[in-house]
Amino acid sequence: MNTMTMTKMTLKTEGDTHIVVTRRFAAPPEAVYRAHTDPKLLQQWLLGPEGWTMPVCINEARPGGKFRYEWTNGKGAGFHITGEFVELQPPNKIVHIERMHLPDPRPDNYIETRFDPDGTGTLMTMRMTLPDAQTRAAMLATGMERGMEASYVRLENML
C-alpha cells in the first residue's frame, strides 16, 4: 500500500446484481456529503468525460425528493438521469434510485452511498443494485471477476 493507492478508485462486482465503487477523499464526510447533494457543487464535478457539462442540475435532497441531471457535450449529444431520494442521513448516507435515459429509460439502479470517516478524510462506498444480472452485465460487462483467462481480455484489469 503506497500513497498512490490511498485515493485510487476501486470498482468491483458483488453477487449477481451489485456493483461496488470505493474511493477515499482528503476531506471530512460533511464536505463530501455536501458535494454530493448541493447542485452548485455537483455541477463542478459530476461531468464524466472531458468536454461534457451539466447545464441542468435539479436536486431536492430530501426523502422522496426528485432529481434530474442533464449532460451535454456541446456538440448536440446529450443524455439525462432522473431519480428519487429514498433516504438521507447527513453526512453519512444517501440512498437513491436513478435511471438513465438514452433517450428511453434504462432499468432502475438502486444506489446506496456511504461516507465513513477515515482518518481525517472520508471513505466513500457506493453500492449499486441492478434489477437483474442481465442488466448489470449490460451496464458494466461484469462477470469478468472470476474464471477468466488473463489472455482473454484486459477487461478483468479494468474492473
Binding site: T3, M6, T7, M9, L11, V21, R23, F25, A26, A27, A31, V32, R34, A35, L41, Q44, W45, L46, L47, G48, P49, E50, A77, G78, F79, L102, T120, A133, Q134, R136, A137, A138, M139, L140, A141, T142, G143, M144, G147, M148, E149, S151, Y152, V153, R154, L155, M158, L159
Partner: protein, 134 residues
C-alpha cells in the same frame, strides 16, 4: 452517448457463465463445437445455442475449414467492449479527481474565513498531484 445495440448485446452475452467459459477457452485458440462441448459436458445443440448468442453479439466468428467450422474470438468485438469499459471507468475516475479539487476549494474557502494559521498543516502528503485547471 450512443451505446450501440451490439455493445449491449456483447455485455448481455457475458452474463452467462458458460459463455464466459467458452470465451476463455477460445482465448487459447480456435475450437469447433465438438471440442467446446467436451469440457462443458453439454450437448452440441446447447453449445451451438451459446455460440449463436456470442456470434450475434460480435464476440466470436467462425471460419470454414472443409467440414469443420472452428470458432475464434472476434478482436473487433472484444476491443469495442474494452474501450467502452475503459471509457466508463475513466469517466468515473475523472469525476472523483474533479471532486478532490472541489473539496480542496471548499476547504480553503473555509480556511480563509476562519484562521488559516491555526490549522496544523494542510495535508499535502497523500495527494501531491498537481492542480489542474478548473
Amino acid at each position: 452517448m450512443h451505446v450501440g445495440f451490439n455493445l449491449n448485446a456483447s455485455f448481455a452475452a457475458l452474463s452467462d457463465p458458460t459463455r464466459r467459459a467458452i470465451l476463455s477457452r477460445l482465448a487459447r485458440g480456435e475450437a469447433t463445437v465438438m471440442e467446446l462441448a467436451k469440457p462443458f459436458e453439454m450437448t452440441q445443440p446447447a453449445i451451438s445455442q451459446h455460440l449463436k448468442v456470442l456470434e450475434e453479439a460480435g464476440l466470436i466468428v467462425q471460419r470454414v475449414d472443409g467440414a469443420r467450422r472452428p470458432r475464434r474470438l472476434a478482436k473487433a468485438g472484444i476491443d469495442a467492449m474494452d474501450q467502452w469499459l475503459a471509457m466508463l471507468r475513466k469517466a468515473l475516475e475523472k469525476n472523483y479527481d474533479r471532486l478532490d479539487e472541489v473539496l480542496a476549494a471548499m476547504e480553503s474557502g473555509k480556511e480563509t474565513k476562519s484562521n488559516r494559521e491555526t490549522k496544523p498543516n494542510t495535508k499535502t502528503e497523500p495527494n501531491t498531484k498537481k492542480r489542474k485547471k478548473q
